[in-house]
Each structure stands twice: as C-alpha cells, then as structure tokens.
Symmetry: D2
Subunit: 146 residues, 4 copies
C-alpha cells in the first residue's frame, strides 16, 4: 500500500470573511483541490480525464466545522476514497491545522462519472485506465510520512 | 402565519466552471444569501445582528445536487428554519429552477450564536429581540405567492 | 435615448474579507454582473449570445477603489459602453453606495468577440443582431430615474 | 541582491468559468497570493503585519490578459515592488505559463498602510521593522533560479 502525503493548502486572504475566519464554502473548494492532488499522486490527472471527456460531477457534499481556520494558517487535507464501483465514488476528508495538529473539519463528497452531456459513463468498460487509477486510490493511504 | 416569497438569484457568469455548470460550492453561498434575505423579510437584519457583536457561524452544511444550474438560469431558494432553541438553529433549503420549476438541489446548514471570540451567546437572555426574530422565522412559510 | 436604471447589488457576506470590507477582486465580478444586466436591459442576453457561440473575453480590467463597501451595504453600478467597433468594445463603471450616495469605485474593462476557440468574430457581418444590440448600448444612458 | 523564486500556483477547477478558461477576477487573487509569498520570502509575514494592526488595502488594481490559463496549467507569478515610500507602495506582476513559458498576463496593484479604522500609517516611524522589510523587497529580484 502506497503512502501519500496529505494535501497542503496555505489559507488565502481572499478566503476569509468579515468574521475573520475562512468562509465555510471554501472547504468544499479545498476538498476539490485535494481530489485533484490525490489523483495526481497515484499518477493520473483530472485534466487528462477531462480531456477524454470524462467529468466527475458532485452529487452531494457535506462538511462539519470543528474549529475555524484563519489567514496565516496552513491546513493539511487527508482525502480518502471510500467507495468506487466504476460508475460512482465517494471521498471523505479530514482538515487538520498544520501547526496545531487540531482537527478543523471533516467532510465528504459523492460523485459519478459523466460525459459533457451529463450522461453516465461506466469506466470499467469505457475507460479501463481510469478504472485502474481509482482502484489504486481505494488502497492508497494518505498519512504524514514519518 | 406570514408568507415570504422565495429568494431569487440570477446565476452569475463567474459562478460557473469549465463543466459549463454552476460550481457546487456556490450553493452554500446561495444558502447564505437566502438566510440574510429570510431574516430581512421578517424585519430583522444580519448586519444589525453583527453590529451587536452576534455572529452565527456555520457548524455544518450539506447539499444534494439533483440537476445542474447554468448561466442564464434564475434560481429560487426556499429556506426553512427547522430548529431554534435560542442558542443553536438549523435551516433547510430547496433550490428550484425559476423557469423549469425543477428541483435543482436540497441542503441544510446548522449554526450557533457566538461573539467575536467564538464564545456562545444565549439569545433569549442576552438578545431578546434576536430571539423573537428567530421565533417568528420558525413560523414563517416561504412559498410562491398566488 | 433610453434611460436604464443602474444595476443594484446587495453585498454578500462571502464577498467580505478579514479586513471587514469587500474583497477588491469582487468589483470585477460586479462589473461582469452589470454588463449582463446592461445587455438584458436593452433586450439582448449574454446567455443567448453565448448560445450562438459568441464569447466576449476580457482583454483588460482595472479598478480604482475610493471607499470600501461593507456587508449590509447595497451598491449601484453604472456601466457605460465607451467604444464599440463590431469587433472590440470597452465599458467603464461607477460604483455608488445606494444609501450614502458616495462614489466607492470606478473601473473599466476591454473585450473582444471570439468563438469557443478564441478566434475573433466580426459581429457586423457575422452576427448583425449582436452588432445592433451593442450599437443601442452606445446610446444608452444609465441613470437613476427621477 | 537576493533572488527569490516566482510564486507557483496550480490552476484550481473552481477558478475556471464556462468559457473553459480561468475567470479574469482570479488574477487579482493570484496577485494577492504572490504578495503574501513575496513578503514571506524575505522573512516577514502578512499575518504578523496584520496582527500588529497594520493593513495594506488595495487602492487600485489592473490586469492585461494576453493568453488564457486553463485547468491543468501551473502558472508562475513574478511580483516586483516598484514604489515604496513608507506610506504607499505599488507592485507589478507577470504571469507566465510554467510549461509553455508564455506570458499570460501582466498587472499591477497600488496600496497604502492603514489601521483597522482605515487611518493611514507611516511605517518608517510607527513600524520600522515593516519599513525595513519593504526596503528589502525593493531590492529583491524575482527570477527563475538557474
């Protein structure tokens, strides 16, 4: 089992709001950044997947906010592929403060594979390389390297 | 029971992504817009609440995406206050295409009341006017007027 | 000469940053919102233009910030089409506080017409209806109605 | 003269729009990211500056777009401090495609130093450490290391 480093994101000034914390909507954007990174880390790329006409729209998303992130913080995001059947997949996420080690948020997203007209794609048959890449992600462990 | 019109939002060009649909993170922003509108509609304002030092940070949020919104669409958002105990509250949302009438998404957010240092505020005792405003929202019905 | 009302935008919570003012990047987004509105106001729509494969990418943009907008404010945006030759156009903008009447910002954007492959389009010949719509905008006056 | 590497940014999916290119407003956000990085690179931090109550609001910003960035691209941003008198400063930027080496955009921002109530701050007298940090930036060269 390969060990992948967590995705690292430095909080941007424009991600904060007048409550002086990161606006809650940005966590969904960080989840997305970490998915792109995650696929990259096992040698496949979202951009390549999309150039083949394979999209992975979000069917559902949630986030539970434990402790706010602020400008100046760096956060680590640990994505985990929980389910994948060639047609749909779900990912869960933990957001950890890099310096504090505190759990800032947990969340999840559900996706399908679809073409540009939002018609479903079954990757096992139509895109076996994508199917294999996601199979690898199922067994990937995202953890801080020791 | 008062009847409040749904919140209307015209999809912005910058809200779309290269999948040619609205980026999923924006639904959490629309939910927020509709909360501000909702409180306005019963005669209280978020800006006034914040000027008193009362924040309402998001503890959790979710959205289930049924059908994509696109540039050129106008969406109607129907917020509903489901729970409120003076200290925490939760809101659910339906997003409907204005022209199509189709259900585009459903979602929810959970909040508490807190001061600028993220210490909890009990509105019944400390801010009875805010308490009364939210009590009114519990009984408000958001619906298209006939 | 037709008189068009200014575009009205209520500042969103998520548009603010931890300086407690609207993040400066959002003014470019408001300019875009006002362009879409502006074209709508003379009976043409951006969405229709795009459905014909006519894009209007931004070649340049600037904004001078005079006084910050904050959550709770409503701003009025007065767009003005300054130049249009069928192939390129430029728009200038004034952002005014609705309540205060104060000038908050001025700015401008430059555009061309292009197809999905970013090849230039000459509207006079290829899309006379778009050409006529922009000609009308050249003579439109955006002002508060008395 | 110290040589600082350019700021590197991987285009995020959510930064694109339905024209399939990066939305033009995001370049102002990238400029901001690169300013934060730039100050970091000479050993000072925006977060520390803000914790001392010293803000640097944007007085003006512009961007000229030469060639669009797309999802999958990585861009390099070369910031340059052009003027600094202890009270105001201006920064210019070049955005280069990392793989293509092509110039994608150029731009600039103007800033002052201000406190939380937007009152001007003269750093030479009130915050000599910030004054010295910016003096160092005036002499910093942002370039690809050979």
């Amino acid at each position: 089992m390969s060990v992948i480093s967590p995705y690292e994101h430095k909080v941007c000034y424009y991600e904060t709001d007048c409550m002086r914390i990161v606006h809650h909507s940005n966590y969904l954007r960080w989840f997305e950044e970490s998915r792109v990174y995650f696929l990259d880390a096992i040698g496949y790329s979202y951009a390549r997947m999309e150039s083949l006409g394979v999209l992975s729209p979000v069917l559902g998303a949630f986030c539970d906010y434990k402790s706010p992130a602020r400008f100046g913080d760096t956060v680590l995001i640990f994505p985990k592929l929980n389910e994948f059947n060639g047609f749909k997949f779900s990912v869960s996420y933990e957001v950890i403060g890099k310096e504090s080690g505190a759990l800032l948020a947990t969340g999840g997203t559900r996706h399908c594979f679809a073409d540009g007209n939002m018609r479903p794609i079954r990757t096992k048959k139509e895109h076996p390389d994508i199917y294999e890449a996601f199979k690898k992600l199922l067994n990937a462990d995202v953890a801080l390297k020791k």
